[in-house]
Symmetry: C2
Subunit: 294 residues, 2 copies
């Protein structure tokens, strides 16, 4: 059975592990903090690759940032990682084939092959974390667009400039549906700048009226975004992943979405591929392409 040395590259952590064709993690997961500079990041990659490349068939990266359609490099800039990280020449890191894909796309693929959206030809995954990631499967393939940047969840929730999004534009879905969005919603409704997402999550557990109101507003915003996506894609299902997804009421969202859409009924699931879905998806994608891009 083929094996992949797999990396999950984020702004704060870089994980690595060996994964087999079944999507099973068959090594210890090595966890490193993301170094500050390009050279240090590259050197960390090289060091781990040197250690394991003889044991594997392919190297697979699940990374922050949009990845090109050749699956060998990053398009444009990424948020909170070294500014010149997008210049990384991934193919040059190993003599083995190297495959690179965006982390949300990788996670969506893991859900599609082994997780919540298994068996669904058309699905939309939303990663609700500090920000919002998107991975869209159309007809059993990742939606990449002309250059590979598709699946960005930056569509408007309002057109009258209320909240500035991290992308620089106004009122994107991300700045309402993310953890950061929940914090802003909480500030707006409570009129308290010091309120945290933990306060809201704790509050709903004890049925605190104000916290429930805040949470429902946030969940309603997620629902409104999903309605638009359901009308655009007519997908079999949505998969909600990420640290904030565990708190949402998928049955309630599903009902409200299906009550309003003009397309055909869809389903809302929580992710099932686990915390390492990105690495698993990257490995499975690399295997499915035969690692031919190295």
């Amino acid at each position: 059975m083929k094996k992949a040395l797999t990396f999950d590259v984020g702004g704060t952590k870089i994980y690595s592990a060996i994964i087999n064709e079944n999507g099973e993690i068959i090594s210890e997961i090595e966890k490193n903090s993301t170094p500050n500079t390009f050279d240090e990041i590259k050197s960390l990659f090289e060091q781990i690759i040197k250690k394991y490349e003889n044991e594997v068939d392919v190297i697979a990266f699940s990374t922050c940032g949009a990845v090109n359609n050749q699956n060998n490099g990053i398009l444009g800039s990424t948020g909170n990682i070294a500014k010149d990280y997008p210049k990384m020449q991934f193919k040059s890191l190993s003599s083995k084939p190297v495959y690179v894909e965006n982390d949300a796309n990788c996670a969506a693929w893991a859900e599609h092959i082994t997780g919540a959206s298994k068996g669904c030809a058309n699905s939309v995954m939303l990663t609700l974390g500090t920000g919002v990631g998107g991975g869209i499967i159309v007809d059993n393939k990742l939606l990449k667009g002309k250059n590979g940047a598709a699946g960005e969840m930056h569509f408007k929730m309002y057109c009258d400039k209320r909240r500035k999004c991290t992308c620089g534009a106004w009122d994107c879905f991300e700045i309402y549906a993310s953890g950061k969005g929940l914090k802003i919603t909480a500030e707006e409704i409570s009129k308290n700048q010091n309120i945290t997402t933990y306060d809201v999550i704790d509050g709903i557990k004890s049925n605190d009226e104000l916290m429930v109101k805040i949470f429902n507003r946030w969940q309603s915003d997620i629902t409104q975004g999903i309605i638009g996506l359901a009308n655009i894609f007519d997908p079999d299902c949505f998969v909600l992943s990420g640290s904030m997804a565990e708190f949402v009421d998928t049955k309630k969202i599903e009902k409200n979405v299906n009550d309003e859409i003009v397309t055909t009924p869809t389903k809302i699931f929580k992710a099932q591929a686990g915390n390492y879905a990105g690495m698993i998806g990257a490995a499975l994608l690399a295997f499915s392409k035969g690692g031919c891009l190295g």
Copy 2:
């Protein structure tokens, strides 16, 4: 060269013509008003098919309503045509193969093969008429979704219930970007219930300050919607078609979209496949499928 007898079925008119494999209309275009009842519509189809079916290889319908993935019937209900029209058994109308597709999808396909988006693997067509239609091409194929209903342009422009959309939900793109949306925008800004879209269009030609303000607001709403779609699809281009599209400033929209998106630069074109794009697209789709669904 193969020929298709092609219909364009709308709420007010039913057109028909014979179209060849080059997408050329090679007959007179027969124009009928859409009858009120299912039986009368069916009988009109039968009468025209009887007259021409021996001359053609396939029958192709470009129709209002979402069409299933088998391209032989309509999903759910459609707006302003006989309530039971969706029950039409299209295959039973002829001994020749019969192919059915949604009118916006057909028009998008015509633009893709012979029009403004020719050569673009990924494009989004928006038909700006009384309502808004959508046809999305992903990787040289029509985006249909799990049941065929994809491409509905009912995503939110606001989440605080300002305008009721024709679909019954609130604040969809359609109720801002359509001709009806322009009328509502004009009423809101002018505080005059009797203002018409003609007043606005005439007014911008004479540079009337109020009318320019109304028009710019409408065009800005279209721009905001396109920004979201560009971030979701990373398409090569958008094609604007329909009666309202001729008035928009595509260069201005393109600049504003590209200034704001997080994906890669896209282009905005006006449609080029003409008034009969629906019929042309239906014929070309039927040929490309080999008419095998009859």
